[in-house]
């Protein structure tokens, strides 16, 4: 685990590191013969909204999977708060301060909305197995604390009325919000969002944009998204992938007019 000099500091507090919060250096991933990522680098500053765009199959989800330890890169390194990350395993992310939403919704279908979010808050739990087995007071107190955290985030996202419902019974946009709540309740310093706007209507998407902008004083956000207008309005910087390679990097304005980007997307339309 990363030794954390700023343990206990508020999320988004950047006093511990002056450099980027998170850095990906020349990462390569191959699946058999297919090169999914080729020397991909990316740097996320604290409080920044960083977009990752590219046509279907460009390697965006794979990049997230590398950042989460689901895929071990064949080359390249990761740095979190200035320290190299080795042997990353997904279950360590929460403690490190990284949360991620999954493409789709990925909610626990047999758990109520509230329970889903409580699982997201699991890294804050204190009571152990024995106190749960014996239902000691400690365990009740712990549960109450988790429930309060979960409620607070559900309320923040306007979904508290669904607390006792199963996700399957809810409209898709509400499910997406619950998935976001589950990631936010962990109070990460960096949030990875994989296509959070897919399946949303114009209103929900606009609200999501405002919400993402509003997260910046608490955490950095890395956003994979196909909806260009959303990406262009909420991102501070954008990395463009095509066939596993970074073809452009810069502010939305720089990226918008980059011929390589237009090429990548035109190529997609022509295909």
């Amino acid at each position: 685990m990363v030794t954390d000099p700023a343990e206990g500091a508020t999320p988004g507090d950047t006093s511990a590191t002056d450099g980027p919060l998170f850095r990906v250096d020349e990462v390569g991933v191959r699946f058999g013969g297919l090169v999914a990522l080729d020397e991909v680098s990316l740097s996320v500053a604290p409080g920044e909204v960083h977009g990752v765009i590219g046509p279907n199959g460009a390697g965006k989800t794979t990049l997230f999977n590398v950042c989460c330890g689901f895929v071990t890169p064949s080359s390249g390194t990761l740095h979190w708060r200035g320290e190299p990350v080795r042997g990353l395993r997904p279950h360590r992310l929460a403690q490190m301060g990284i949360a991620r939403t999954l493409q789709g919704v990925g909610l626990f279908r047999g758990l109520t909305v509230l329970e889903n979010v409580m699982v997201g808050a699991d890294r804050h739990h204190r009571a152990g197995f024995t106190s749960a087995l014996l239902a000691l007071r400690r365990s009740d107190r712990d549960e109450r604390a988790l429930r309060e955290r979960a409620h607070a985030v559900l309320t923040e996202l306007g979904t508290e009325t669904y607390a006792d419902r199963l996700p399957g019974s809810l409209p898709y946009p509400v499910q997406k919000r619950v998935a976001l709540a589950r990631a936010l309740v962990a109070e990460p310093q960096m949030l990875l969002l994989d296509e959070p706007a897919s399946g949303l209507g114009a209103d929900d998407m606009a609200e999501l944009g405002t919400r993402i902008r509003g997260l910046r004083d608490r955490m950095a956000v890395v956003l994979v998204e196909h909806h260009m207008d959303l990406v262009m309005t909420v991102c501070d910087r954008i990395t463009v992938l095509d066939f596993g390679r970074v073809v452009a990097e810069g502010t939305p304005d720089q990226v918008r007019d980059d011929p390589a980007v237009i090429d990548a997307y035109l190529g997609e339309e022509a295909a």
């Binding site: 929460a94 403690q95 699991d122 239902a135 109450r144 508290e160 009325t161 669904y162």
Partner: protein, 383 residues
């Protein structure tokens, strides 16, 4: 004996009861203790009173049926937690019961047998250790592979008893000396009911006391973080991992807890039947337990109890019906497994959430029909 497995809405502060008319359950809830332990302990106390009433007013034959019910229910409760809450199937629970029964036999057969409570604890602990090993192997497997691995275990264990026939008694099995009721207990029951303590009745008391403790502990686990994490891993491993949960150890823990229950069940079985023999722990036992938890409703402790009751009371009832209809004794006895199968198929087809799930849904539709439910009103179980 309703031991709720889910109680996401029923706790102290921060409870999320929707606005609107108070529901009948809320009125009841207000009178329940506020702590999880208090609530569950109250249910267990009510259960204990019921047990005394039932055992003191029924025949010795029924007493021994209830003793049988107790060990099926202990094992089924452990299995429903594993399969229902954590999504792991096990065909090896009969074999885990064998571990508990043989451990009990060895301990009670030793020169200076330890006190009964210690025997039960050791049987549970030994089986839990076996559970850690099997669970660790199983935690990497899913679906049919998991079923296959636990099946292999189920077949191997009775074989061990035959292989080590010097210690374990081989095919014949191992006689187990059942403990006798201590004087204070017999006196207490006499004081309460003016009934004498019989051997069979004492064994039923042991079984039910063990069952109530098991239900209390499992309900505690299921109601809180441990149960929630088990269900999360069951539903979506990747999402659980992103929340900082390690699916492997979580699975092993669930398997271990479940195995400890099976060990206790085996210990009670050994004491009640007075024998631990390979023929008592065949794959039929494991399948019976699975039937019980599926019919009762996966993940529900009440369902496990109902399912176990089915295992005990259905076969004689069916056999009686068969002989009444003019079948020979042998043919009538063969009806029972057939009826099991039919019941299992019917439940899976008509009420996949089992008896408890079906009742819960009916109760919900009645409630939603009568008083309109608030905005946050229960959409649970509707998926």
């Amino acid at each position: 004996m309703a031991v709720p497995v889910r109680n996401s809405e029923s706790d102290e502060a921060g409870r999320s009861v929707p606005p609107g008319r108070p529901r009948p359950l809320d009125v009841v809830r207000r009178w329940l203790p506020r702590s999880t332990f208090g609530r569950h302990a109250l249910l267990v106390l009510v259960g204990a009173v019921a047990v005394v009433l039932v055992l003191e007013t029924t025949s010795p034959f029924r007493n021994s049926q209830f003793a049988t019910l107790s060990y099926y229910a202990i094992a089924a409760a452990g299995l429903t937690v594993l399969t229902g809450l954590n999504g792991q199937i096990s065909l090896g629970h009969g074999a885990l019961m064998a571990v508990g029964a043989y451990t009990t036999g060895l301990l009670l057969g030793s020169a200076g047998p330890p006190p009964l409570i210690l025997v039960l604890v050791v049987a549970a602990a030994v089986t839990a250790v076996v559970g850690v090993v099997v669970g660790a192997a199983a935690s990497r497997l899913h679906g049919p592979y998991l079923a296959g691995a636990t099946l292999a275990f189920a077949i191997a264990v009775p074989g061990l008893a035959i292989y080590f026939d010097g210690v374990l008694g081989g095919e014949q099995g191992m006689q187990i000396d059942s403990p006798r009721a201590p004087a204070w207990f017999a006196d207490a029951i006499y004081f309460l009911s003016a009934n004498e303590m019989s051997g069979a009745k004492y064994l039923a008391y042991i079984g039910w006391a063990t069952l109530l403790v098991v239900l209390l502990l499992l309900a505690n686990l299921a109601a809180g973080r441990v149960g929630r994490v088990w269900r999360a891993v069951r539903d979506d491993e990747v999402a659980a991992e992103l929340a900082g949960i390690r699916p492997g150890p979580v699975r092993v823990l669930a398997f271990t807890v479940s195995a400890a229950c099976a060990g206790l069940a085996g210990a009670v079985l050994g004491i009640v039947v007075r024998l631990a023999a390979p023929s008592g722990f065949t794959i039929v036992l494991s399948l019976g337990l699975l039937t019980a938890v599926v019919v009762g409703g996966l993940g529900s402790l009440t369902g496990a109890l109902l399912g176990a009751a089915l295992l005990v009371f259905l076969p004689p009832a069916v056999t009686n019906l068969g002989t009444a209809a003019g079948l020979s004794g042998v043919a009538a006895a063969e009806l029972a497994p057939l009826v099991y199968g039919v019941v299992l198929v019917l439940v899976v087809l008509l009420a996949p959430t089992g008896v408890v799930g079906g009742v819960r849904r009916m109760w919900q539709s009645i409630r939603n029909g009568a008083g309109r439910s608030g905005v946050g009103g229960n959409g649970r179980e509707r998926s």
